[in-house]
């Protein structure tokens, strides 16, 4: 009982640290620096401490100090309660969705079975979608409660876009659920131990469709019509400042991490290295004794998983700095006339193949 509690606390603290303490501040730096490198620029490099700039990493620190000392502004006539609660609603699901994502396998340390996932829910992937729908409320409430035309337009666009893409996103994932026969993310991860059973080989169309939907759900370029800087100032968070603004900003970055984690789990073999099974890892680390081997194998799992996550973060950032923004009607057409029928066809083909294969 106590061991369970310690294990859960350790996992929760780990996920909080790596998300809020590492990914959230570093991704701000990555976005600036990667865009600079891709566009033949140099990027932010002037903030320094005692002359050390550390390739611009201190800009994140400077930003943190800036937003902490800024005035927390609520516009006149805004709905104070909803205006305050909206950033929380959009930030919390981004972190909470990580609770069902497995970042390692099952190991036994000192007779206690450690499972590297915070909550091993049976409905796994559905829980993620449920939380993703909750994030819509934060955006729409933020837009509506600000009492600003820009915010309201941004919120309206966000509600239409996110609701549409949730439908498509749910359908794109059905194929992979059919193939693996489970909604549990840990089971889906464990079934990808064989390199040729990775989701990307079984469901290549599903991968592209899901990636598109996930980026649209996160409202990033090319789907950033809800915040469209050139049209709506900053869209739904125009009237936010200080820490509340940062909560929206962090929510966006943490959603990148969450999307990358889910992509890794569903399509890229979760915590598995190619051609290396968990049993092989344990055997390889046999020199450290059974407990030491388990701990080392766990570390390898975690590093592999987060390495893949970092790759997908890089991919999403690349897409963000490559493609121009879609028009509103193009976004809607892409969703309802292209992605939705394609995902239905994908389900049909997957079903047919499964039916013929398993017979």
């Amino acid at each position: 009982m106590v061991a369970d509690l310690i294990e859960s606390l350790a996992k929760i603290i780990f996920i909080f640290t790596i998300n809020l303490g590492f990914f959230a501040p570093v991704l701000g730096w990555v976005e600036r620096k990667q865009s600079a490198v891709m566009q033949d620029r140099i990027g932010a490099n002037r903030a320094d401490i005692f002359g050390f700039t550390v390739i611009g990493l201190f800009h994140s620190l400077a930003d943190a100090i800036k937003v902490l000392t800024k005035e927390d502004f609520i516009p006149a006539g805004a709905n104070k309660f909803f205006h305050t609660i909206a950033p929380f609603i959009s930030l919390v699901p981004a972190i909470a969705a990580f609770s069902v994502v497995p970042f390692g396998g099952k190991y036994t340390i000192f007779g206690h079975e450690v499972h590297l996932v915070i909550a091993d829910l049976d409905v796994g992937i559905l829980f993620v979608f449920a939380l993703a729908s909750l994030a819509t409320f934060g955006v729409v409430l933020g837009g509506w409660a600000s009492r600003s035309n820009w915010s309201l337009l941004g919120g309206l666009r966000a509600s239409a876009q996110m609701l549409s893409y949730e439908v498509a996103m749910g359908l794109t994932i059905i194929g992979i659920v059919m193939v693996f026969g489970s909604l549990k993310l840990t089971e889906i991860g464990a079934m990808q131990e064989n390199f040729f059973r990775w989701g990307i080989f079984l469901q290549p169309v599903g991968f592209i469709l899901f990636l598109t939907c996930a980026i649209a759900e996160n409202k990033r370029v090319p789907f950033d019509i809800p915040e469209a800087e050139s049209e709506l100032v900053a869209g739904y968070f125009t009237e936010y400042s200080g820490l509340k603004f940062v909560m929206f900003w962090m929510g966006e970055f943490l959603e990148i991490v969450t999307i990358s984690a889910i992509l890794t789990t569903l399509f890229f073999g979760a915590w598995h290295l190619p051609f290396v099974t968990d049993a092989m890892l344990l055997g390889f680390f046999q020199f450290a004794g059974p407990n030491g081997a388990a701990i080392l194998a766990m570390l390898v799992n975690i590093v592999t998983f987060f390495g893949k996550v970092v790759f997908f973060i890089w991919l999403q950032m690349s897409i963000r700095w490559t493609l121009p923004r879609f028009r509103y009607d193009q976004i809607m057409r892409l969703c309802w006339k292209m992605i939705l029928p394609l995902s239905l066809v994908n389900i049909l083909v997957t079903g047919l193949v499964l039916l013929l294969w398993t017979r």
Partner: protein
């Protein structure tokens, strides 16, 4: 003013822009309707990603292992530390050209005062020696100057030219923006390139 004295355009290297001989026109596709391959969109997205990734990879390599002796690909100039080499056609702050003996070339004919569209120049002429005219005071109001270069174009003695100086032009007091003759004087060597340039383009010998 200190910044202007330290300014030395020869010590800075980075050249900006694409060299003229490398600028080639690219074929432009006139038909605006998309082909089927482009309507599929995914291959074109991948092609775009390939281009940006190529830039990313080559620049990353350049940042990690800086190539020796090659011109760097990143055009950004770290401004206070390095400055661009300005072409002779650059019109910076107007300066008065100094003769080797330290006096100005200007003969106070007043043509620049007359042509100046912003009325920035005001000259008080005087004589010295054997009927040699010189400006007793030559005041250039830099809060009015529009850097048009008419003064240098009209000057018959090549006495006022547009230098390549662009630093130290902001002041906290407006009275400081009235540049006196002493602050405007520059040696002939420092504006040699510009003088040759104006001889070429204004063709003064053809009057």
């Amino acid at each position: 003013m200190d910044a202007m004295k330290d300014f030395d355009p020869t010590k800075n290297h980075p050249m900006v822009g694409v060299p003229l001989d490398k600028l080639k026109p690219k074929p432009v596709r006139k038909r605006l309707d998309l082909t089927l391959w482009e309507k599929v969109y995914v291959p074109e997205v991948l092609r775009g990603l390939g281009i940006t990734t190529k830039h990313f990879a080559s620049n990353m390599l350049g940042f990690i292992v800086p190539p020796k002796g090659k011109k760097r690909k990143v055009f950004t100039v770290y401004y206070p530390e390095e400055q661009v080499v300005l072409p002779a056609a650059y019109r910076g702050r107007p300066v008065l050209v100094m003769k080797p003996d330290g006096t100005e070339k200007c003969v106070a004919c007043g043509l620049c005062e007359k042509i100046c569209p912003a009325n920035a120049i005001s000259i008080v002429a005087a004589e010295r020696g054997e009927a040699e005219r010189y400006p007793e005071s030559y005041i250039l109001d830099m809060s009015r100057c529009v850097y048009c270069g008419y003064c240098e174009e009209v000057c018959p003695k090549e006495a006022i030219v547009m230098s390549s100086e662009y630093q130290g032009l902001a002041e906290r007091e407006r009275s400081q923006l009235l540049y006196s003759k002493e602050r405007l004087l520059r040696s002939e060597e420092s504006v040699r390139g510009r003088i040759e340039y104006i001889r070429r383009i204004y063709s003064k010998c053809n009057y």
